[in-house]
Structure formats: C-alpha cells, structure tokens
C-alpha cells in the first residue's frame, strides 16, 4: 500500500540514526553483495518484469551494468518497483542505492532529491488520442479530459501547455501508470499524455493499439536518466562512468560478442576503455576491467537499445535523437582517459 509505504519511509527517515554518510555507498554495496535498484512498476522497454519475475529494459540494463562493473556479475541486482510518487522518497531515505526509473532530469529534482548522473534516453512529452476523434493536432484539444500520472513532470507540462495555448482541459491523474492506461482505454478521458517512449510502450497494453494515434506535437524536453543520493561523489562516479562506458563502447565498436578479442586490440583508446591499459577503474574503486565486464554482460548502449526499445521490439522506436553524436544524435559521452 502506498499510503503506508510513504509514512513508513518518512518514519524511516526520522528513525535511522546517521547511516549512509558521504562516500560510503560503494563500500556498503560491496559488503551487502548487490545493488538495490529502484525501477518502475512495469513500463515495457524500460523496466518491466516478465511472467517469471525477470526484469528487462533499458533502465534495468543500466542497473545490471552497474552490478557488472562492481561485482562482474550482472545478476547481483535487487529491484524495488516504485510508483512515480514514492520514487524520490525511496532514494533519499536510503531504501535504494540508485534510481533508474525513466526519470526526467530537471533542475529542481537535481537540487531537491539527488544527483543525476547522465541521460540514458532523450525523450519528449506527447499526446495520444483515439483515431475516431479526428484530431490531428494538440491545438484542437480545447475542452478535452486528459489522463496522466500524479507526481510526474508530465502532469506539470500538460498544465503549462494548455495554459500557454489558452485551452481548457480537465486532468484525471492516477498514481499508477497501469491505472492511467486502463482509464484511457475505458474512455474516462479523451487524451493520454506521457513521454513519447512511454506512449509507445503503454500503447502495447491497450485493447486495440491500432485505433490510437500519437499527435505530432512534442511539448517538452524529457531527458531521462538515473540518479543517486546527494553527497557521495564516488558512488555518483561509478554510475556516471558505467553509463559513459556503454556509450563509449558503442562508439568504439566494442560489442558483447567481440569484447574478449578487443582486449588485445592495438587501438590505445579501446585498450583504455577496456582497462587493458592504465588504472582508470581503480581510481573510482572498481576493477580496471569494469567496462569490459559491463559490455560482456549487457552489451554496449546500442545493443541494449535495440534489445529493449528498438525497431525490432514491440515499442518500434527509431534511434532518432538517441543515436550517437557521430550519427547525428545527442549521445556524447566524455572520453575514458
């Protein structure tokens, strides 16, 4: 129960005497033997459990990559499914070590709740409507009822957008994403709004996915990324360089298949990435070969993307702005040297 959970978290915050001080998360994680990762309650492509309880998705891959970087074992992860509402409380109270839950990086969240360590999906908010409404643009939505999630940037963006365009609307805000989809499917509202990747993912849950159309407007910037608690820069570095490693590996052409052969490559850049040369990993408290372990276990960013949200999956999302900068996209990781 969420009400109970929220209260429990506040009480935990009040009762836990000075644990988890700065620069201790990595040691704490190493001694308990797994990464406690906060994920969504089920968003296909990002973090979604299958019928055996195995989690898959882009965010889940990031958690697995962190576990591979720390333990050389991508399965050393425990997942905590969180609603949008309780996710930050779970992070600040110390219940989870990292929050990888398709969370938009904003300035207020970065200052209030934790430290964002990068962007693993560039997104923007869109609208979905039933095709038979005959709406072709969001500017025609005057007077519509809009279904959305509570406690999300989505809820704020939609309020901003309708106000800025002088349109009337009614908002119906649910706590769980599944409830939003069910309400929209039942016709409780005319419009469903969330990040466009979310629209593609949730569409697969509708009774007739082909009877709905995504409107062309993108009304916001939604850089989605993982975050950690404030005040532990070592732990933030572990997360940041795990993500950078996956992106750099794709750029350098290192894949899950060829990573073992690449270790003997003559390219100094590849040798540094894979830890065959230098001591970059040990500087942040990891094995020098952490990046090789990550790629061997979950693959590079592109492989993870194609496996979870790419054109061959149910979500059918093109790389678009999420391509590497060398391919005209926005993914640009700082070099490992």
């Amino acid at each position: 129960m969420h009400p109970v959970k929220t209260i429990a978290l506040s009480v935990a915050l009040a009762a836990s005497a000075g644990m988890a001080q700065a620069d201790e998360t990595l040691d704490a994680v190493k001694s308990k033997g797994f990464v406690q990762c906060g994920v969504s309650q089920g968003l296909p492509g990002f973090s979604n459990p299958d019928d055996q309880g195995n989690w898959t998705g882009l965010d889940v891959d990031f958690c697995r990559a962190m576990a591979a970087a720390i333990f050389n074992d991508a399965d050393a992860v425990k997942y905590t499914p969180l609603s949008a509402k309780v996710r930050f409380t779970a992070l600040t109270s110390g219940e989870i070590d990292v929050l990888a839950r398709n969370t938009t990086w904003t300035m207020s969240r970065d200052s209030d709740f934790g430290e964002f360590i990068g962007v693993n999906y560039y997104d923007g908010q869109g609208f979905m409507v039933p095709t038979n409404l005959g709406v072709s643009s969001a500017t025609e939505l005057d007077g519509a009822a809009v279904c959305t999630n509570t406690g999300t940037t989505t809820e704020l963006n939609v309020a901003d957008y309708f106000r800025a365009n002088g349109l009337n609307y009614t908002v119906v805000a649910f706590e769980k994403a599944d409830e939003v989809v069910a309400a929209y499917d039942a016709g409780r509202c005319d419009v469903y709004t969330t990040d466009r990747s979310g629209l593609a993912a949730q569409r697969t849950k509708l009774s007739k996915p082909d009877d709905h159309v995504v409107l062309p407007e993108i009304i916001s910037k939604e850089p989605l990324g993982p975050l950690v608690r404030h005040g532990d820069s070592q732990w933030a570095d572990v997360g940041r360089w795990t993500l950078n490693c996956m992106i750099n590996a794709e750029e350098a052409g290192i894949t899950m298949e060829n990573v073992a052969d690449m270790a003997t490559s003559a390219d100094p850049n590849i040798k540094r990435i894979l830890g065959a040369d230098g001591d970059l990993g040990s500087k942040i408290g990891l094995d020098n070969a952490f990046c090789a372990n990550v790629v061997a276990a979950v693959g590079n960013y592109g492989e993870s993307y194609d496996r979870n949200v790419g054109p061959d999956t149910a979500l059918k999302l093109d790389r678009g702005v999420n391509a590497l900068w060398t391919d005209g996209g926005l993914l640009y990781a700082a070099p490992q040297r």
Binding site: G18, A159, D160
Partner: protein, 400 residues
Amino acid sequence: MAKNSNNNALAAPAPSFWRDPEKRAIVYQALVLAFMAWLLYSIVNNTATNMESRGLASGFGFLTSSAGFGIISTPFVPYTEDSSYFTVFLVGLVNTIIIAFVGCVLALLLGFIVGIARLSSNWLVQKIATFYIELFRNVPLLLQILFWYSAVLKPLPGPRELHEAGEAVFFSINNRGLIFAEPVGQEGFQYVWYAFFAAIVVSWLIRKWANARQMQTGQQFPTFLVGLGLIIGAPLLTYLFMGRPLEFVPAEMSRFALRGGVTVIPEFVALLLALVIYTAAFIAEIVRAGIQSVSHGQTEAASALGVKPSHRMRLVVVPQAMRVIVPPLTSQFLNLTKNSSLATAIAYPDLFSVFAGTTLNQTGQAVEIMAMTLAVYLTLSLLTSAFMNWYNSRIKLVER
C-alpha cells in the same frame, strides 16, 4: 535496631526514602518524563541530522510556491495551476471533508434501515439484509472501490456516444460522471431562501409549543408532518409566487465532452458508494445489537399499554438502544473518514492524494507534509469523537 523500631512503633517513624510510596511515585514520574523527553529529543534530532546530511531542506516555506498542476475537482476553493501548495492543501482538505461528511450521513441512514430490516419478521426482508451484511462486510474495501469504479462506472458510454456536438443537455449519466443543468438563482430568488429559513425557525417554535402542551394536557400534535410541510411548502410557494426565479443552465456538448452544468465526477461516486455500502454493513450490525440489547419486556409492556407498533419502535425501543449504538457508531464514522484516504487508488483528489501524494512528490518535504496530513486526520477524528461524545452524554440513561 529491632528494639528501637519496636519502641517507636506507635510514633510511626518516617519511612526511608525508597519505602515512601509518594516519593517513589515522584521519582518514577520524573524518570518516565525524562525518558519521554529524551525520546522526543532524539527523534527530532535524528530527523534534523539525517535531513541535513542528505541535503534535504526543511521548513514550511514551500507552501507559498505555486503548484503548477491541475486538479480535477475543486469545490468551494478557487483553484488554478498558479495557486499555491497551501491552496492544494485546502482543496484536498475540502474534498476529504465532503466525502467524509456525506459518507457518514448516508452510511448512517442505510445502516439503520438494514439493521432494522435484519430484525424484520418478514422472512424475505430479513434474509436480504443478512445477505447484504455478510457480503459487503467481508469483501475488502479497496476491492469494492475498484469494483464500483472499474466495473460499474467506467464502462458507461462516453458523452460522444450519447450527445451530438452543440446539444444542450439537462441531465446525463456517462463515464465522465453525473452531469446536470446548473440552477442559477435570478432576481428575487433570495426570498425563497428567506422562506426556507423562516420555516425552519417556525417549525422549531411549533415543536417547543407542542411538547409543552403535551406535557400539560397530554394532547398530541403532528409536529413532524406540519414541520415537513412548512419547510418544503413555504419555499415552494414563495418560489411560485415570485414567478419561478430560477433558471436551469444546461451543459453544452463540445467536441469532446459536456461543458458547463454541474458535474459529479465518477471517482467521487465510486468512492462514496464503496464507503457507504461497506460502512453501512457494520453500522447495521451495531444497530441490530443495540435493538436486541433492549429487553423484550419493554416491547411487551409498551404493547400492553396500547402503544401502537410504529410508536413502540420509535419511542420505546430505539431511544434505549441508542445508548448501546452510539459508542461503536463513533468508531465507524472515524473508520469511514480514515478509509476515505483510499481515494488515492482512483484519482479522487482527497487530501492524501493531492497533498500527501502529488505535493510531496513535487517538493520532497516529506516530514512537513506528513505531519500536516496526520494532524488533519487527527483533528477530524477528534472533532467527530467530541461531537459523538456530546451526543452520547445527551441520550445516555439518566439515573436517579
């Protein structure tokens, strides 16, 4: 030593410090007080230290920042996206109070009817009441809320399937809620209100007079019927006399939904239905227990005195049963109020949903928001308790 104390036995020497129960009690009290103070201090101190070490801001300054999100239903409180978080708090509070108050009144009515039906001599009525109680008392409340919302209200047809664009609609039930024309008072409508309040005052005076007369002469007067007639009749006559100064402004079908009119959202209806039906099942059992606690001899004595059956229940049995009914009834009212926080499951914007939920998530002020929310539920519960205790002390058995 033994000799000495024997000699002084009659003089009752002052016992040693630890053997004096009064002094001992003071020491214990002081210890407990010190322990409580330490506990309170360490809770506050831990919270402050932990919040500081995690860089969490504290204080109530966030209440004045603008909320920026929309709320589906904001009765009595003017609200826009520019309103402050404090206004969000008020909106949530009003929504919680509305559902709790309407819920308590309806649950009491339904519970009383079912409770009396449970004791009916009619086999069918009695079995139906028993079935109702056993069914709704034993199904979890959250399940019932989701049932009314997802299985009953959401599958209703949408407004587009019912109405043409541009159509003026006076009454409609669809999956967007219960929508009816908005009554707008015209010039002269205030006299209808005056007539209404005047009728209430007059009815009260008549009741006083009738009671006094009955005490003196034993003559009865149909107070209830006359009062009802006055309270309904006087405003109605004024209304007709003033030339019907009330206009019903219909809702208009826009491209998507009905605009204007008065809308009762389905989330409210679902929550209300579930709370009332669930709580009424408990109240029915309390009422039955109360009535059965009145000795059957009372009924027989009333019959022997020639009191007619309807009066027998109303004037002899129920007043005595109320003494047993009221204390557990208070608990049910408190339960209903607190259970209303389950609204968060179905998007009804009560306090827990919009303030302890959305606002908490936007601002991260967990300690302050939870403290305010707890204070509200505590205050509502204490107020309900205080009222019911006052009522209980009025009706309890006067012993001589």
